[in-house]
């Protein structure tokens, strides 16, 4: 039995994982989704700090490989910011992020009746990552000449109302973990920092939230799902949580079985050695 388990075809595990992740998507189990204190606090940071007409940067810094985790986050958090009546400026420092910027711009215009150029602006990709953020801090208006669609920025009323990055109330960064945005942006006086990131990047960013350098911090698809529930707009992340939980349960089972198998094999080997 033990030998069979140890030599099990890896493809059986793959099939089990596909079943564990697929069935709950088609037939939701309805597992409870408790809201963590961290997500509640992050929600409250936007709820209490953002007022009508406040300027908010939203950094759309992810590519298709992070879509499953970060697109639901962007939708949930961005909609929350828009519902507060804030003026939103979308920025993008990752080459593949512009597609999500365009998609999110459409969502804001359709669902919140935002007027492009008046209370919403999308800025194009800017190369250099940390250096580009440093330019936002030092000379925000000098960094950009045209918007995401190639139109001259001076033609938009919102652009003309902004003097520098100090005019902004909050920077919401939806990105695949790296802290290269936080180092420069934390130099802007009075700018609140808020971050949504992928689960694998949580350990990099968590200390920066614990230390109070960021006022909000949500992690992975589960963070997005909790945020969707809090904002009363269940979306793709909340719908995937049953599948996510079943996948995790299966991995835990694999880890336990693997360790039990390993320990028993060692014990059997030791016994055999003694007998010799």
């Amino acid at each position: 039995m033990l030998e069979k388990l140890n030599n099990a075809d890896i493809r059986i595990l793959y099939v089990l994982m596909v079943i564990a992740a697929t069935f709950p998507l088609l037939w939701p189990i309805g597992l409870p989704l408790p809201i963590s204190e961290q997500v509640k606090a992050s929600y409250n940071a936007i709820e209490t700090n953002i007022k009508q007409n406040d300027l908010v940067f939203i950094g759309v810094d992810f590519e298709p490989t992070q879509e499953a985790e970060l697109w639901p986050q962007l939708l949930a958090v961005g909609r929350h910011v828009a519902s507060k009546g804030a003026r939103i400026v979308l920025v993008n420092m990752i080459a593949g992020g512009f597609r999500y910027e365009e998609r999110f711009e459409e969502v804001l215009i359709k669902q919140f009746d935002m007027k492009y150029g008046v209370n919403l602006l999308a800025l194009p990709f800017s190369a250099g990552r940390e250096a580009a953020f440093q330019s936002i801090v030092a000379d925000f208006k000098g960094l950009y000449k045209v918007d995401l669609h190639g139109k001259t920025l001076t033609g938009f009323p919102l652009w003309n109302e902004i003097k520098s990055s100090k005019d902004f109330k909050m920077y919401v960064q939806i990105a695949d973990a790296p802290d290269w945005w936080l180092r420069p942006m934390s130099q802007v006086k009075g700018l609140l920092l808020w971050n949504g990131t992928v689960a694998s990047g949580a350990s990099t960013m968590a200390p920066l939230y614990q230390s109070g350098q960021m006022c909000g911090f949500i992690i992975g698809m589960s963070g997005g799902a909790e945020y969707e529930v809090l904002t009363k707009r269940p979306g793709p992340a909340a719908a995937a949580m049953d599948a996510q939980s079943m996948g995790h349960a299966l991995i835990i089972l694999f880890v336990i079985l693997g360790n039990v198998g390993y320990q028993m094999t060692r014990r059997n080997e030791a016994k055999a050695k003694k007998a010799r």
Binding site: E67, E69, W180
Partner: protein, 200 residues
Amino acid sequence: MNETIGIWIGAFLTLGLFSWMYKENAWFRIVENVFVGASLGHLAVTGYQNVMDIAWKPAITGKYIMWLPLIGGFMLFSRWFKKYTWISRVPMGFLVGTTAAVVMNGAIKAQLIEQAAATMMKLTSINNIIFVVLTIAATTYFLFTLQSKQTGPIVNLGKYAMMIAFGATFGQTVMSRISLFTGRMQFLLFQWLKLTPGGG
């Protein structure tokens, strides 16, 4: 129509990658190469556009300072010629120096001073005590000038603290990967096959 074609291509590529789970095959290799090629192509086009928009166009329209990064970038190509490799060291040195300066500027405040300050907390709760003790223990592990005999059990405590942290990181990575898988399954089931939750 365009969207439907895009969805079918997406499904073809996703299933091609999943086919590796059965065994390595030609379909998987084709998809893998398409992914690498498309990523590099995208990177090349974006890089070209950046050079044109940020440096070349301003340089030829009177912003002469932009010739500096253009010439510097051009000098980097000298690495291809053994005899002239030394030329590339000038822009390379500039890149390393400016990057270090930009990073250091923010890192000292954001990742050193504020992080150290965050560990100076009142020892009024169990959480805070654990936090401070484990921070000291983990930091002690990196005192390479002391032998483990001198630092005693605190180094072992630091090791265990780091192991727990690595375990948590591994758990988060698993969560990330399963999210990716779930996202792809959502795409295949709901966008490609047009099924609806409930099995319909």
